[in-house]
């Protein structure tokens, strides 16, 4: 489903956000980035990041301490 996958497991704030931003930068509008994170703070942070930047948080789920986010790039 995702066009690109970013493994941010084991990284702490703010690296998952910074790496996600970098990945999104190289993608075209409408494409979907999947981010995997083990940082519990990433739940609030990816929501805030998407609200502020206009990228769409399509889906998020947690399993075994790993949060997976699907983000659709704006534009």
């Amino acid at each position: 489903m995702a066009d690109q996958v970013l493994d941010a497991k084991g990284l702490n704030c703010p690296l998952p956000i910074l790496k996600a931003k970098k990945a999104l930068k190289s993608m075209e509008g409408g494409k979907i980035l999947e981010v995997q994170s083990t940082d519990p703070g990433s739940v609030a942070d990816f929501a805030a990041f998407c609200r502020t930047t206009g990228n769409e948080l399509v889906e998020q789920e947690e399993a075994d301490g790993i949060w997976t986010y699907l983000i659709r790039k704006s534009g």
Binding site: G10, L11, N12, C13, P14, L15, I17, L18, A20, K21, D39, F49, T52, T53
Partner: protein, 175 residues
């Protein structure tokens, strides 16, 4: 009155782009280097235009060669996790030669273990994200640093330079 909320607080500074932030960086120890670089890189990632103004002890954070240290001296809130408990350090012990070096090493190990970015890494990301960095000319003179000691792309400026930035920034922080 359209841009004033019920509380009388301006919702937005008139004529100022809301996606702008400035940070005055005044501290250069290993721990205090984190807040400005974390906020600057994250704000840039969220589409803000960011300016950092480095003054006094914040200036060493612009040096090519950063040897950052942390001290437990006088820092009563600094308690390191050790085997399930949190250990503080009495000031008398903190003052001994070598203790700062030891505490700094412990902190760096912890940072690595927990997947926290290093300061050189965060600074690199800030440069990549086009964060504008201004070094305080007076501090350079005072502590006898040269522009050549600093990383590339750093601008030199003074109080007026910062104030101009601040008047054009929606968020202004002092760290």
């Amino acid at each position: 009155m359209s841009n004033v909320t019920e509380m009388g607080i301006p919702a937005q500074k008139p004529g100022v782009d809301p996606n702008t932030m400035s940070i005055i960086v005044t501290k250069g120890s290993l721990d205090w280097a984190y807040p400005p670089f974390i906020l600057a890189t994250t704000a840039a990632a969220m589409g803000l235009e960011v300016t950092m103004f480095f003054t006094f002890y914040g200036l060493p954070l612009l040096m090519k060669d950063m040897s950052l240290q942390v001290t437990s001296l006088g820092n009563t809130a600094m308690k390191m996790p050790m085997g399930g408990i949190h250990m503080g350090m009495p000031n008398l012990v903190s003052a001994l030669p070598g203790v700062d070096a030891m505490a700094s090493k412990m902190m760096k190990n912890l940072i690595k273990k927990k997947g926290v970015a290093s300061i050189p890494e965060l600074r690199e990301l800030a440069v990549e994200a086009d964060v504008r960095m201004i070094a305080c000319q007076m501090t350079l003179d005072l502590f006898e640093y040269s522009k050549d000691d600093m990383i590339e792309g750093v601008e030199i400026g003074g109080a007026a330079t910062y104030i101009e930035v601040a008047t054009q920034s929606h968020i202004n922080l002092f760290i």
